[in-house]
Amino acid sequence: MAFQAFLIGLIVFIGKADYFVGTAMLGRPIVLGALVGLALGDTATGTIIGFSLELVFMGMQAIGASIPPDMIVGSVLGTAFAITTGNGIDTAVTIAMPAAVLSAFIVNLFYGVITPIMARSADRFAEDDNDRGITMIFLANGFIFDATFAVIAFVAFMFGGDAVSAFVAAIPTWLTTGIAIATGILPAVGFAQLITMIASKDTAVFLLLGFLLAAYLGVPTLGIVCFALVIVGVLYMAHIFIPKDSQIVAAEVDDDNEF
């Protein structure tokens, strides 16, 4: 149990330290769920739950300076307790969501108070021409942050197991049903955010095309990507990539007037 709790803490550390290794998406539920599965001896279940949580947290990505719920702590604890209590994805979501929201408060405490105060030392080292000092404060600052959440996850898994089991057993069926329904809808939150971010009036029709190919014809995702590449190729050949808001259109309009 202690060793498993250590591994759970380590997985949270890896997820948090993703910021140190190129934001390589090691902190996504799709990866963390599989790691938790490996640690707890049920890789298949971990991977499946991790992917389901990935869908729930799909749109949650630190964009600019917005701080979303802490999906790293949420998904690691959610997957871990879903596996140890022998329950499925509904339990994982029931645990992951509150854990993620609570953990986000601690994240904000670091981002807003602890880290900025520590960062002042970097300024002092700069005044002293001390590059080792800048490096040290930079490394320490981030790794203290990562380690804090590893300890939180360790403690939660080590001592929270019974509490979570009792909690899960006490959940009435109307709530489980409700959360199961909500779990089905939640991925749409992320998709809606992504669409808000990347769709324009001109490109929205491709969203529908992807949907129809999958809904009516059952084309798998890789097939959808291939179709999309063909469409991009066709549009390129037909010279349809003309930015409406740029000078190019204006230049063409001018040309038309001249002729």
């Binding site: 140190f20 190129g22 934001t23 998406m25 996504r28 769920g33 890789t43 298949a44 991977t47 499946i48 991790g50 992917f51 990505q61 600019g64 981002y111 880290t115 900025p116 960062a119 021409d129 590059d131 404060i137 930079f138 490394l139 600052n141 049903t177 409700g178 959360i179 329904i181 909500a182 779990t183 089905g184 809808i185 749409a188 939150v189 998709f191 955010q193 669409i195 971010m197 990347i198 769709a199 324009s200 490109t203 491709f206 095309l209 992807g210 949907f211 129809l212 999958a214 809904a215 009516y216 995702t221 890789l222 959808i224 990507v225 179709f227 999309a228 991009v232 549009l235 990539f241 740029s246």
Partner: protein, 273 residues
């Protein structure tokens, strides 16, 4: 003006250390100056190579400890340009160092927008979508495939970012704001991204209704009717509603709590399930 005999020149060694050190972009992130320490950390070998004078080094460290925040994959490009400008500054007494800070501020916004929508918003989704099948069958190959599809292009982008950032120096601002190339690339990638999102809405948003009517002894299922007219109609409606909420600026947490409440109420009333 310095003579050419002691002209300062960066070598591949410093550029390599920018490449490796920029992997740490969001480490020690905070609200006040965000990714500033990581940026200074990435510039340390360059600064030490270029400036023999203690005061110049101090000024450079302080310059790169100013506010900085951009999508992580874009940092090698901005750091590469910074390195070229620092090199110019080391060799040219006329050089105005405030232009280095201005360049960083000018580029971080647009590049963050491009990076967030193309990399976080599109590449990540494509990687998730392609890995979906393997993940759902519980295979470790799923997460591995996800990581490979995401990381191979982004690491390549980082490498070319340093290379071209340093190579083009300050001129790159002109290249990037040459909107045509960027617009074509953005449009092409958003087409791929949107089609994958559309497909994932169809396969991954689950919303059905158990409502059924008994008409003259024949059971009439509302869900079967939906399926025969427009498959996955309810997930699309949910998506449309959430999109409208996003447009109105309703916070994500509110949306999630709302969905939980709707789930419970609709479950009790037997509308969804």
């Amino acid at each position: 003006m310095t003579t050419s005999s002691n002209e300062k020149k960066l070598t591949q060694k410093e550029l390599n250390s920018i490449f490796w050190r920029t992997f740490t972009t969001s480490h020690a992130w905070h609200f006040e100056r965000q990714q500033h320490m990581a940026f200074a950390f990435a510039m340390i070998p360059t600064i030490k190579k270029l400036y023999d004078n203690r005061e110049d080094r101090i000024a450079a460290y302080k310059r790169h400890l100013e506010f900085y925040n951009c999508q992580t994959t874009m940092q090698p490009l901005i750091a590469g340009i910074s390195a070229a400008m620092e090199e110019e500054n080391a060799n040219n007494e006329e050089f105005d160092t405030s232009s280095i800070s201005s360049m960083k501020v000018a580029l971080m916004g647009p590049l963050a927008g491009i990076g967030d929508s193309l990399i976080a918003g599109t590449l990540r989704i494509i990687a998730t979508g392609i890995a979906a099948g393997l993940c759902m069958s519980g295979s470790l190959a799923g997460p591995l495939l996800f990581l490979l599809i995401y990381n191979i292009p982004t690491i390549a982008l980082r490498w070319f970012g340093v290379k071209y950032g340093y190579g083009l120096g300050a001129n790159i601002i002109g290249k990037i704001s040459d909107a045509d190339v960027m617009h074509k690339l953005t449009t092409a990638l958003s087409i791929v991204g949107l089609m994958v999102i559309g497909a994932m809405v169809a396969t991954n948003v689950g919303l059905t209704t158990p409502i059924a009517f008994d008409i003259n002894g024949t059971m009439f299922s509302l869900q079967e009717t939906f399926d025969s007219i427009f498959p996955r109609l309810l997930p699309v409606c949910a998506l449309g509603a959430l999109y409208a909420l996003n447009k109105k600026g309703v916070p994500v947490l509110t949306q999630i709590i709302g969905i939980m409440v709707i789930g419970v109420v609709a479950g009790l009333l037997g509308i969804f399930g």
